[in-house]
Amino acid sequence: MRKITTLIAILLLIGAISAVGLAQQYAITNATIVTVTRGTIYNGTLIIEGEKIAAIGTSVPVPSGAEIIDGTGLFIFPGMIDPNTDLGLTEIGGVTQSQDQVEMGTYNTFIRASQGADPNTIMKGIARYNGITSVITVPRTSGQGVFAGHEVLFNMGGWTVDEMTDKDPVSMQMTFPSFGSGGARARGGGGRQPEQTAAQTQREDPRERAEQVLNTVKDLFENTKLYIKAQEDYAAKRSPAPPELDLTLEGLIPVVKGEIPLTITVSGVDNMREAIKFVKDTNVKAVFAGATDAFRIADELAEAGIPILYSQLLTTPGQNDPYDLYYAIPSILDKAGVKFAFSISGASGIQNLPFMAGMAAAYGLPKDAALKSVTIYPAEMYGVDDILGSLEVGKLANVVVTNGDMLEPATKVIHEFIRGAKVDLADNWQYQQYLKYLARPIKK
């Protein structure tokens, strides 16, 4: 009888709690809080309520129901963002069957990275373990493809694609046609790419083809505007019928409306100049990826207000280049006023993201810019700085608690929260292997 009463009481209590909808609260106390955008707070407390950061400060009261995490001697950072990755679309680099990043076709505006991505990719736990809480997963073009499709902003939590999705689409991936000089088309990751025939390459003048491609793209943009207008007219009952279904144009709607940036993979000075012209002509928001040699036209990029994704830090300079060229490029971009974010296109190397930023700081980039380039800058570039990129009240609680500077290789992540949920850092296949073989009985 008493057992039943107790059980009823417990059930009532659970019911009461869920009825009130008490959001889970955490208080991380006594920590050094590196907000990124609002300075650093010493001996501070950060309160997480539900999915968001509820309070930050030195004299913040700890709510009565909050789980307290003693942050003495620890540091709190916003989670890092890799804005250009194949995470979820490529599992094992050398295994064709595990690669879904590349689709055939030229103007694949209708492709959605989110729909091919694996929410159980092994890389997720590794990204989290290293303090990376968000990524932008990117489809890529094949052959002479121009549009690869919609990129998606994923958080590294959740069980399903829906739970991982913070913004979809967050960008459109475009490979800029090569105007000939200026080197190879930049491309990250591996993937299947249909080979073009020798006849194809010989027949076509690259500049002529590039101009044709851009004219087609501009036509697509114009048609998309008409498509939007036709949809609006129909919705407002100004026209009797909707426009004829066109998924290619529908894919471009958020780009044309200026809701998402176009991530343009482009390399070499000449091609980038053409791309700047294209961006001005079409009035789209743009981010340049690949962007080798961006430092040579840093002023032009700064003037055009085009940010870049920098993924060349771990490149060996050529024989006549300064020995530290790729380490020092971020400082050149920063001085010129070009906004940039670090990215590692292959997810199996994602753990190196913070170290790229740190190394750039060793070679002249101010430390705060280094930190911003893996947090708030990518958030700003992709229009999600209202929810991500810094520790501010009201933003998503993507919070990383470490025992040191987040950009240092010897630092460990101690606690982590994604959308306010406490992350199980041990949920990392590599770490589980470590524990398993550490526990192997010592051979006699």
């Binding site: 771990l314 060996t316 300064p322 292959g346 550490l438």
Partner: protein, 444 residues
């Protein structure tokens, strides 16, 4: 008479001095480094310490040392000094690395393909590297003999060699070997057979030579009248077998490219049948699964810090391996196998502190210094800063395990081969400095 003799002695002494002086400038110099934080690699850190290098060897180490007359001084106030980094697995300075037409190219020697002015060596110097182990590739089961080079950039390659270096043989297992598909073996089964059959032949070869030499020494009587009259007939020389005979006699190190646990365990067993233990497994991605077997065999785990998942056999690597293997008593080195990673091995070493427990700072530093020297069996002259060892030193502007550090000087046997003050940096290049051999060289 007496006068003439005296003059002769004086002249001869002068000639001797001149010869001596020349040999000093070619092989080792004097240098005094003062006021540094010295991370010796022995576990000891000396604050405000000094190092005196005499004739290329560390002569004194400690605090309150006085500068001998005429010795060049580097004031290292605020700087950190550690042993020169030794990359245990590199392919720099080799014009070809795979003689893959045969399953056994043990007759070949990477020393025959050395390119003394591969500028990758200078790039490596700029990352604090003073010596590299340059190896054959992994295309066949038996690769070639190796070479160990000090990165004396600008000097003839003969001067880069280490006088008391023992040779090593590269062997390989797994996917890279079977990739050929047209050359036996195409599976790990065949790989075992190739190893066993060649070592059986080598045993036979060695037996014949031992017998021949015993007859020469009169330890065994001649076999017949012919031998009695003309002496024993030497067996036919076989250059492949000569190398394997050296392995059987313990005169040649054995470095086996291995990824998965079972192929490495197989190699330990099969080589064990011939009384040979592998000196190291190269890359050793699943070595953590057979830690005790490695420890028992005394085999060094020569690891990537965190490269993984680029192919199937790399899909079970963990960055925790360095910590786990160190804890289980295995000597661990971290190598680059790359002209890019070789430039930041200090940070790859630092990662061993991030992943797992138990590693000390000294352990981390040793993964790229002393442990590489042990692997090469050159720990008597390299790998730590101790009196009597070679004056191979790297100087850093911050703690070398910090992402914010950069190498400012690299010294080999008392000679500065990289000096950031003299090198072509991006900063100077932007101000109009041009690459010249002298600047690229950085050598005196």
């Amino acid at each position: 008479m007496h006068g003439i003799k005296f003059k002769l002695v004086v002249r001869m002494s002068l000639v001797c001095l001149a010869v001596l002086g020349f040999s000093i400038s070619a092989s080792g110099q004097d240098l005094f480094i003062s006021n540094a934080t010295i991370l010796t690699g022995t576990g000891e850190t000396i604050e405000n310490g000094s190092i005196l290098v005499r004739n290329g060897k560390i002569a004194q180490l400690g605090t309150n040392l006085s500068v001998p007359f005429g010795v060049e001084v580097i004031d290292a106030a605020g700087l950190y000094v550690m042993p020169g980094i030794i990359d245990a697995h590199s392919h720099l300075a080799a014009s070809g690395i795979n003689e893959s037409t045969t399953q056994n190219s043990a007759m070949a020697d990477i020393s025959d393909a050395i390119v003394h002015d591969d500028y990758g060596m200078y790039r490596a110097l700029a990352g604090g590297v003073t010596a590299i182990h340059t190896l054959h590739g992994s295309a066949n089961v038996f690769g070639s003999k190796d070479e160990v080079l000090k990165l004396k950039w600008g000097r003839p390659w003969e001067e880069m060699l280490i006088p008391d270096n023992v040779e090593g043989l590269k062997m390989a297992l797994g996917e890279n070997v079977t990739r050929s598909e047209t050359r036996y073996p195409i599976s790990r089964l065949g790989q075992e057979y190739v190893i066993r059959s060649y070592f059986r032949q080598a045993q036979e070869y060695k037996r014949k030579w031992d017998e021949y030499e015993a007859k020469l020494a009169g330890e065994i009587p001649p076999a017949n009248e012919f031998e009695q009259e003309f002496g024993p007939i030497p067996p036919r020389k076989d250059l492949r077998m000569e190398t394997l005979k050296g392995v059987l006699e313990g005169k040649i190190r054995v470095h086996i490219h291995g990824y998965v646990n079972h192929e490495m365990a197989m190699a330990i067993r099969v080589l064990g049948e011939f009384g040979v233990a592998p000196t190291s497994f190269e890359h050793c991605l699943e070595g953590y699964m057979i830690a005790d077997e490695l420890a028992e065999a005394g085999t060094v785990a020569s690891l990537f810090a965190d490269s993984w998942n680029y192919k199937v056999e790399a899909s079970r690597a963990i960055p925790f391996a360095a910590a786990l293997l160190t804890e289980r008593g295995v000597v661990v080195n971290i190598h680059s196998d790359s002209g890019e990673r070789i430039r930041r091995l200090n940070l790859d070493a630092a990662k061993s502190l991030r992943y797992g427990e138990g590693m000390t700072e000294t352990d981390a530093i040793r993964t790229v210094t002393l442990n590489s020297a042990i692997y090469l069996k050159l720990q008597h002259r390299m790998g730590t800063l101790e009196v009597g060892k070679d004056g191979d030193i790297s100087v850093w502007d911050a703690h070398p395990l910090s992402v914010y550090s950069k190498c400012v000087k690299t010294i080999i046997e008392g000679v500065i081969y990289f000096d950031r003050d003299k090198a072509l940096t991006t900063e100077k290049w932007l101000q109009g400095a041009k690459p010249t051999d002298k600047i690229i060289g950085g050598a005196k």
